[in-house]
C-alpha cells in the first residue's frame, strides 16, 4: 500500500513538474504574437558580406531573397494562422564572417527587430553561435547549411536543418562506394572543424566496420593553403583513394597542388567541386576537376519528383531572369530554406515558435523540393536528403558533367 502511495506520489509530482515545465514554455514561447496587426512576416537573417565565408554566404542569401521576391509577386505566402496571404519582409545584417559580430546580431534580430522567423547564416561556423542564442530565446532557428552534428540534441526543439543533411551522414554513400570498389588503401586529409571532422569520423568508423583502416589520416587547420608537403606525405602511404574534406578554398589549393605534383591515384575525392563547379573551373581551369569524385548537388543533378516549389529547370531560368546570372547550389539552398519556411507558415496553427516547430515535424517527409526530400528527425536534423557520389568530367570549354557512382535517393 505504501509503495502504491509512493508511486502515485511520484507520478503526481512528475505530472505537476511536467505541467509546470510546459506552462513555463507556454508563457515565453508558445504565446503567439498578436495576429490582428500583422501586415507582413518578418524573416531575420545574417549574411557575410566580407571575410572567409562571404563566398558561400552571399549566394545563399541571394537564394533566400529570390524566394521572398517570388512569394511577394503572388501577394505573399499563405499563413494558416492568419487565414490569409501575407507579404514577406527580410531583415538582414552583415556579420562580416565574424562569430562575435554574428552573436550580437542574432540577438538583435530577436530582441530588437522581433522577427517572426530566424534564419542562420551559411555554414557550421556562423550557425554554431546562432544555436544557443535561438535556444535561449526560444526561437526556432531555420538552419540553412550548418550541418555540424553537435547542433542537434534531444533537449533542443528550436532548430530545423533545411537544405543539407547532417554532416555526419554525408559520407554514407562515399563509404559505401569505397567499400564496394574494394579500396583497401584509403588516405584521408581533413580540416579540423565541426563540418569536416564529423565527416572524417563517420567515414573512418564505416571503413573500419568493413575492415579497412586508412593508411593515412591527418587533420590540418582550416586556414591551410599549402598542400605540397601533405601530398608528398600521402604519396608515401601509397593509397588507392585520396579523400580530402575541406572548405572551397582548401579544395582549390589541394587540387592545384595535386595537379602540380603529378601524382596519380585511382580515386581523388573533394567535397565542393560538386556544389560550386564554376568556382573551380574559373580558378584553375576545367582540367582541375576532371575525373574528381565529389558530392554532386543541384543544379549539377536534378531531383525528378519535385512536389513543392520550382523544379530545377524552372528555378535556373527564373533565377537567371531575376538576378542576371546563373544559379549555383548555394542559391538553391537559400531558396529551399524559403520553401521550408513557406510550408511551415502554411501548416502552423499559430505563429508561436513551438507551433512553427510542430508544423515542420508534421510536414516532414511529405515534400520534395528541387533540393531533394525534406525530412527531419526528432532533433531537427535533416535526414531526407542524401548526397550521392559522382565523378566529374569536364571539356575544354569548361562544361562540367557528372556520372553518379552511387544512387540518387
Amino acid at each position: 500500500m505504501n509503495s502504491r502511495k509512493h508511486s502515485a506520489m511520484i507520478v503526481g509530482l512528475s505530472a505537476a513538474m511536467l505541467a509546470g515545465t510546459l506552462a513555463g514554455c507556454g508563457t515565453s514561447t508558445s504565446a503567439a504574437p498578436p495576429t490582428k496587426n500583422i501586415s507582413d512576416i518578418t524573416i531575420g537573417t545574417l549574411y557575410a558580406g566580407s571575410g572567409a565565408f562571404a563566398t558561400s554566404s552571399l549566394p545563399e542569401y541571394d537564394g533566400l531573397k529570390f524566394w521572398a521576391s517570388q512569394a511577394d509577386k503572388s501577394g505573399g505566402v499563405f499563413v494558416k494562422a492568419l487565414h490569409k496571404k501575407v507579404p514577406i519582409k527580410i531583415v538582414a545584417y552583415n556579420d562580416q564572417s565574424s562569430v562575435t559580430t554574428a552573436t550580437s546580431l542574432y540577438s538583435q534580430l530577436i530582441s530588437v527587430n522581433h522577427v517572426n522567423v530566424l534564419v542562420a547564416d551559411f555554414g557550421s561556423v556562423l550557425t554554431s553561435v546562432a544555436v544557443p542564442v535561438a535556444e535561449e530565446n526560444k526561437m526556432v532557428l531555420f538552419d540553412q547549411s550548418g550541418t555540424g552534428t553537435t547542433f542537434f540534441t534531444p533537449n533542443n526543439p528550436y532548430i530545423v536543418l533545411t537544405s543539407l543533411p547532417n554532416s555526419g551522414l554525408w559520407p554514407d554513400s562515399l563509404a559505401q562506394y569505397l567499400i564496394g570498389q574494394h579500396y583497401s588503401r584509403v588516405a584521408i586529409l581533413y580540416d579540423t572543424n565541426d563540418f569536416d571532422q564529423s565527416q572524417e569520423q563517420t567515414l573512418v568508423s564505416k571503413l573500419k566496420a568493413a575492415g579497412i583502416t586508412p593508411v593515412y589520416n591527418s587533420g590540418v587547420p582550416t586556414s591551410t593553403s599549402s598542400y605540397s608537403v601533405l601530398l608528398n606525405n600521402i604519396s608515401h602511404a601509397n593509397p588507392q583513394a585520396v579523400i580530402e574534406f575541406g572548405y572551397p578554398n582548401n579544395d582549390i589549393s589541394f587540387l592545384q597542388a595535386l595537379k602540380a605534383s603529378g601524382a596519380q591515384y585511382k580515386m581523388v575525392f573533394t567535397i565542393f567541386p560538386g556544389q560550386l563547379p564554376t568556382l573551380f573551373t574559373t580558378s584553375d581551369g576545367p582540367s582541375s576537376i576532371n575525373n574528381i569524385y565529389t558530392y554532386p548537388a543541384p543544379p549539377l543533378i536534378s531531383h525528378a519528383h519535385v512536389n513543392y516549389g520550382m523544379n530545377s529547370s524552372q528555378f535556373m531560368a527564373g533565377y537567371q531572369q531575376a538576378m542576371g546570372h546563373s544559379a549555383n547550389f548555394l542559391n538553391i539552398a537559400g531558396y529551399n530554406t524559403g520553401l521550408i519556411i513557406q510550408k511551415t507558415l502554411e501548416t502552423a496553427n499559430s505563429l508561436s515558435q513551438l507551433s512553427l516547430r510542430h508544423a515542420v515535424s508534421r510536414f516532414s517527409g511529405t515534400i520534395e523540393t528541387l533540393d531533394g526530400k525534406f525530412q527531419i528527425n526528432s532533433e531537427g536534423a535533416q535526414t531526407g536528403e542524401t548526397l550521392p557520389v559522382g565523378k566529374l568530367t569536364t571539356n575544354s570549354a569548361g562544361k562540367v558533367s557528372v556520372d553518379l557512382v552511387t544512387p540518387l535517393s
Binding site: 566580407s50 562571404a54 563566398t55 608528398n232 578554398n249 589549393s253 603529378g262 584553375d284 581551369g285
Partner: protein, 291 residues
C-alpha cells in the same frame, strides 16, 4: 619525408621572406608598422590574375607592372600620410591604427572590385613538369617562385648596398636624426623606400597564387600576420633578417605539417613567442642592423 619537408620549406620560406621584405624596409626606415602590407600583397595577386585572364600576360611579366604601379601609388600616398606619422610622439602606435584602417578600406574595395570568390592562377603557367631533386619531385611553380624571390631579394640587397639611395636608407635605419643632421635627403629617401616596400609587396602578391593556392579579399590579414612574425623572427628593421625569418618560418611550417599537421597554423605565433622570450631583437639582432 624529412628531406622533402626541408627542401619544400626552404622554397616556401624564400617566398615568404621576400613577401615580408617590404614590411621590414618600411619599418626600418620610417618606424611605421604597415598593417595593410598583406592587402597590398593581395592587390598584386589580383593584378596578376586579371592580367593573365584578360590578356594571357605571364605573371613574370606582371611583376614589373606591379612594381611600377604600386611604387607610384605608394609614392603618392607617402606625402600626405607618413611625414605626419613620423613627426608624432608615437609613430609605431599611430601607424598601427592608421594602416589598420587602410587595410579595412582596401579589403572593402577588393570585395567591391573583385568579389568574394577566391581567385587563382593555373600552376601550369610556370611549367607542368615537376622538378626532381634528391629523388623527390617538387612543384615547378614553387621552384620558379623561389628563384624569382631570390633574384628580387638580391636586387634589393644591391639597391641597399650599392646605390646612393640605398646608402641613405641604411643611414636613416641607423639614426634618422643623425642622417638628417648629415644633410641626407631623409624625406625623399623615405618616400622612395615606402614606394619600394609597397612595390615589393605587390610583386610578392603576383607570385602568391602559386604558393598559397588562391587569394580573396580576406587573405591580406593572415599574410600581414605571417609577414610581421617573419620580420620579428629575423630582426625588425633589418631587411636581411626577413630572409632568415622566412626560411625559419617556411621550414618550421613544413616540418609541422609533416609531423603535427593539426597544429601547423600555430607556427608563426609559436616562433614569435620563442623569439620574443629568447632573443627580443630577432635572430640577426641590432648589431647587424646598424652595421
Amino acid at each position: 619525408m624529412l628531406e622533402y619537408s626541408i627542401v619544400a620549406g626552404i622554397l616556401f620560406g624564400v617566398f615568404f621572406g621576400f613577401m615580408a621584405l617590404g614590411l621590414n624596409l618600411i619599418f626600418g626606415v620610417m618606424q611605421v608598422v604597415n598593417l595593410a602590407h598583406g592587402d597590398f600583397v593581395v592587390l598584386g595577386g589580383y593584378l596578376a590574375v586579371i592580367a593573365y585572364s584578360a590578356g594571357h600576360i605571364n605573371p613574370v611579366v606582371s611583376l614589373v607592372g606591379a612594381f611600377v604601379l604600386f611604387f607610384l601609388i605608394a609614392f603618392a600616398l607617402y606625402f600626405p600620410v607618413i611625414p605626419r606619422l613620423t613627426r608624432s610622439k608615437d609613430p609605431e602606435m599611430l601607424s598601427l591604427i592608421l594602416f589598420f584602417g587602410l587595410s579595412q578600406i582596401i579589403e572593402a574595395l577588393d570585395v567591391i572590385g573583385f568579389g568574394n570568390n577566391p581567385r587563382s592562377l593555373p600552376l601550369a603557367i610556370m611549367g607542368a613538369a615537376p622538378w626532381h631533386f634528391l629523388g623527390q619531385s617538387y612543384q615547378m611553380a614553387w621552384v620558379i617562385t623561389a628563384i624569382v624571390s631570390l633574384v628580387m631579394i638580391g636586387a634589393t640587397y644591391l639597391f641597399l648596398y650599392y646605390t646612393r639611395i640605398g646608402y641613405a636608407a641604411r643611414a636613416i635605419m641607423g639614426s634618422r636624426e643623425e642622417a638628417a643632421a648629415s644633410g641626407l635627403p631623409v624625406a625623399q629617401t623615405s618616400a622612395i623606400i615606402f614606394g619600394v616596400g609597397i612595390g615589393l609587396a605587390a610583386m610578392a602578391g603576383v607570385l602568391s597564387p602559386f604558393m598559397i593556392g588562391s587569394i580573396d579579399p580576406s587573405t591580406g590579414l593572415g599574410l600581414t600576420t605571417i609577414a610581421f612574425a617573419i620580420v620579428v623572427i629575423g630582426s625588425l628593421g633589418n631587411p636581411l633578417g626577413s630572409v632568415l625569418g622566412g626560411l625559419v618560418y617556411g621550414v618550421s611550417v613544413m616540418l609541422m605539417q609533416t609531423y603535427f599537421s593539426s597544429w601547423s597554423d600555430l607556427v608563426p605565433y609559436l616562433l614569435l613567442l620563442i623569439i620574443v622570450l629568447a632573443k627580443p631583437s630577432g635572430l640577426l639582432g641590432k648589431g647587424v642592423r646598424n652595421a
